[in-house]
Amino acid sequence: MTKYTYTEKKDTRSGFGAGLLEVGRNNPDVVALCADLTGSLKMGDFRNEFPERFFQVGIAEANMMGLAAGMATGGKIPFTGTFANFSTGRVYDQIRQSIAYSEKNVKICASHAGITLGEDGATHQMLEDLGLMKMLPNMTVINPCDYNQTKAATIAIAKHHGPVYLRFGRPKVPIFTPEDQNFEIGKAVKFIEGSDVSIFATGHLLWHAIEAEALLASKGISAEVINIHTIKPLDEQAILDSVMKSKCAVAAEEHQINGGLGGSVSQLLSQQLPTPMEMVGVNDSFGESGKPAELMEKYGLGTNDIFEAVLKVIERK
């Protein structure tokens, strides 16, 4: 039995849409820009309630990033919306120069991240975005795990001054975090206390880490499950405290192993607390078309992959 249960599944992008509507109601400076994906990004409610603060940009993402930087210069708090691929790789230089280097208060909100985008295939399955964004100075990078956490994160980033990349997804996934939670940027959340291994999970993989913990418990292994929703700035103390106890670590993310959460954790540990570590993520390949669950299994992102990684890393202690 998992230590968390759920009664409902919803997509994290809908959590973004609900959060955006709420920040729109609470702060007249919040504006939203969308590159022809209003429905996919769940920005329709904001558009309908605040048409004067919603800007349809068309299929022109580079322009959208510049517009957002200009609106931020004028004191607005722009939220841009498109798929993760078009939110990062396509517009990297625009983000780098006009937003990150220029320290603009722009919230880059990206849906359909990772392989769970499914049938559209590798052109749209963005698996490099966390790496691209975390490398940029001044950028905060957040990857929430379920509907409620995504909504809370959306509300939190509106209050935070500075550029943010907020990444979420397409499929319906379990809702297992509380409604109306207080989201603290840069603060890891301990979901399950344990002593034999530390599992650091972000985004959709947190639920799989929780499922893996139940399997491990049945084998007599005590796993600590920690949610790193903020990839940058990384909650270094939470990671070090957990690893000090467990002496080994597994990172789990729906992203390339190269440049993702695992890399950030490993960088920290190798400098401050060298520790055996395993990575659950996509191993230097593009994705393909298929159902999300099939893809998660094929690309090594399932509950069992976390379970196996734990067994392997414990052997290395």
Binding site: A62, N63, G66, G70, A72, G75, R96, S102
Partner: protein
Amino acid sequence: MNQTTEPVSAPKIETLEKIASQVRRDIVRMVHACQSGHPGGSLGCTEFFVAMYFHLLKHDPKFNMQGDGEDIFFLSNGHISPLWYSVLARSGYFPLEELKTFRKINSRLQGHPATEEGLPGVRIASGSLGQGLSVAIGAAQAKKLSGDPQTVFVLMGDGEQQEGQIWEAAMYAAHHQVDNLVATLDYNGQQIDGPVDDVISLKNIKAKWEAFGWEVMESQGNDLNQLIPKMEAAVALSRQGKPVINIMSTEMGYGVDFMVGSHKWHGIPPNDQQLASALDQLEETLGDY
């Protein structure tokens, strides 16, 4: 923006020409001192910047980022930074002395404009081309949302018109009727690899902007007597449902005889003899920094 339609007086023009001569001295001295930078385009746009900062813009050298109640200016072709820095310093945004630090370590006067060290007058980093128009459109829309009646200005280069983002922005601004915006295109016909017509021709650039739904006008940028009324006319054309662009012909390197009209002076500094020759041609009117 001064809402004047009066012709600019002769004494006013004379004052602005004196400032322009001094700004040109600053430009060649700055790029000489650090032996790097972009004198050609800077010299070619000197009249434009002097007209903007010393006559046309409603602006406050005390500088705040949002620029509420002010006209605000964005530079998209950031490599002509020595010109902008000189004009900002001589407008009172920061001490003239600071021009000595241009492109040197620990300076706020970066090779290309940046906000990171808080240089007054600069609102966005630029240098990677094609981005400034989008930023200016966003700032203009923010002004509209805030009920601010002032105008947003942006300067772009001609080689920069080859960037695709310019045309995304052009389409957007016309569609959304961003009519509190006046863009200027510095049409000097030169880019790093040679004449624009040889690199990638803009063909009929006026027709292109018109086809994108902009109000288009043309001007001569190295003659203040012509340029100022044209810029005032550009502002008069704003607020009528269309964004406005002024295609401004200039000569790269204008004011220094051996630099005029050649792409070779796009991005190289003068040596000692060349500096002396350039300074001989430019009267010191306000005192060197």
